[in-house]
């Protein structure tokens, strides 16, 4: 990924690497956030003078929350800290003012057990949803293949055959204007058929060769900039990446790319923007794609109705929905447009990083290959 910038002169891709320390920092951050939450609850509990049951429940919520957010290490460490606090501040005083009480140990074990069971159940539930999504992706891949085959066997073959008939007619025409005109039309038809053929071939895969979304988007932007240059204005185009780029699920990646295509096409073709920017954020919990321009904006009428196919907005929304993402479009006449696509990390990335899964129950499920 780090080579993206070197490959384009006009579209630079600055890249803020997170590196290997990223996951450690994440763990530490989750741990610290949890500690702050714990401290706040402890203070509140002391103030309000709550019952031990309520105190345990509040602690439980914090422990489950941290366990789900962080990895195994932070969840274990945090559970122990929580148990210690619980024991030290509340339980020991209530159960045994003088010495130790075996009930404390039982309570502690029960607390830990409950926390882990809940965490495990939630994590498993989440994995099941991810599995369902993955199955849907596989199904869509198969469906696209079927459509591609069908188009190839019917439409494409027929058109290719018709071109031969036209050529036979063309051969019989005497030289002149009509023949010339027909020749031109036939050439254009050839072109259209080749485009159709390539589209069918690519039906199940985007133009991206590598799993390098930023690179592909930068290439596309460059291409669009070239096509739309020479008009009255010039446009600067920039792609930036935040976070460590991770592999997206292939089918989902296609959809993300197509949404980016549509948004960029709008910006280049209609917006008359002088600046177009793309931000890709590979967050732990969230993948974000943001495309901004300072052009003339989209008419609010089009934005709301979604009826106007001109901007391809309904298609973008549909795609976003299919991949469990949310798409938001802000635009104001004269102030430019911003398109933002957000996909939960658990759905977006093709392989979960080691830390994010809480695998207490069942085995971790891996993706395709």
């Amino acid at each position: 990924m780090s080579t993206i910038g070197q490959q384009h002169s006009s579209a630079e891709v600055p890249h803020k690497p997170e590196g290997k320390r990223g996951s450690f920092q994440q763990t530490a951050r989750h741990f610290c956030v949890g500690l702050i939450g714990l401290a706040l609850i402890t203070v509140a509990v002391i103030r309000l003078n709550l019952q031990p049951g309520a105190i345990s429940l509040l602690y439980l919520i914090v422990v489950v929350f941290v366990s789900l957010k962080g990895g195994l290490v932070s969840s274990v460490a945090f559970s122990l800290v929580a148990v210690f606090c619980l024991y030290y501040f509340f339980l020991s005083q209530i159960f045994s003012p003088g010495g130790r009480n075996p009930l404390d140990i039982v309570a502690t074990i029960a607390f830990l057990f409950t926390a882990w069971v809940i965490t495990g159940m939630v994590a498993r539930n989440r994995r099941l949803t991810e599995d369902q999504l993955r199955v849907r992706f596989e199904e869509r891949l198969a469906e696209r293949t079927r459509i591609a085959r069908e188009l190839h066997d019917t439409l494409l073959q027929s058109f290719q055959a018709l071109m031969l008939h036209f050529q036979a007619v063309d051969d019989q025409l005497p030289p002149g204007k009509a023949k010339e005109a027909l020749g031109k039309v036939l050439d254009q038809a050839d072109q259209a058929i080749v485009e159709g053929r390539d589209a069918i071939q690519n039906l199940r895969s985007s133009a991206m060769f590598a799993n390098e979304l930023a690179h592909a988007i930068a290439e596309l932007g460059k291409e669009l900039a070239r096509t739309h240059s020479g008009e009255t204005h010039s446009t600067t185009f920039r792609v930036s990446v935040e976070g460590t780029p991770r592999d997206l699920h292939p089918t989902l990646r296609d959809d993300v790319f197509r949404i980016a295509c549509e948004a960029l096409r709008n910006s280049f073709q209609h917006a008359q923007a002088s600046k177009i920017e793309v931000d890709l954020t590979f967050g732990e919990r969230l993948f974000e794609l943001r495309i901004r321009d300072d052009g003339k904006g989209i008419d609010p009428k089009h934005l709301d109705s979604g009826r106007d196919r001109h901007w391809g907005l309904p298609g973008m929304r549909e795609r976003a929905q299919q991949i469990a993402g949310t798409l938001e479009i802000w635009s104001e006449t004269g102030a430019g447009t911003e398109v933002e696509l957000r996909i939960p990390g658990s759905v977006a990335y093709s392989v979960s990083p080691g830390g994010a899964g809480f695998h207490l129950f069942g085995k971790g499920k891996e993706t395709g290959s």
């Binding site: 293949t145 190839h152 055959a161 036979a168 051969d171 071939q201 292939p250 089918t251 290959s369």
Partner: protein, 210 residues
Amino acid sequence: MNGERPRIRVLSVDDHPLLREGVAALVTSQPDMALVSEASNGREAIEQFRIHRPDVTLMDLQMPEMNGVDAMIAICGEFPGARIIVLTTYAGDVQAIRALKAGARAYLLKSLLRKELLETIRLVHAGQRRVLPAIAADLAEHAGDELLSAREIEVLRLVAGGNANKEIAALLSITEETVKGHVKNILAKLGANDRTHAVTIGLKRGIIDL
């Protein structure tokens, strides 16, 4: 042109009737050519070839029952002098190599048929070979590449069909681990990043077809 010269006798093989009609329209409009017969799959092609012994055979690759490559191997085995032109929708070095190895004298894309077909028929009839520059470049680019094994091609085809490793394992009666090994080899040999990428490359290079 020249009434004395015998016409080039052409056999047209394609499973799509409309395409055969198109080829017929073009070929029969030429004074130096005659369409002697048609076939809609490889098996019929072999039969028709035996009966008519055409000068030039136009062969589609993707056909039901018996594909074009197998038909060409059979025909060229029986009639070493057979002059066959392959007509196909997709380019792709692997498919082209397969066709040329099977005995094709020329390799044409259907999108270029309109302009290239008649000239190619005449060239091949005159004993020449013809591979379009774009396809030749494709061939050169992958000349040193390691080829996929038959099993790997089978796995890639199933991947293209949207099957997960587990399903592929069940279909081929092998373990999931073996499938994973095959997929890993496929990715390495094709230089692909993931399964979808491998399928794309497979299609582009004609290793698998739609």
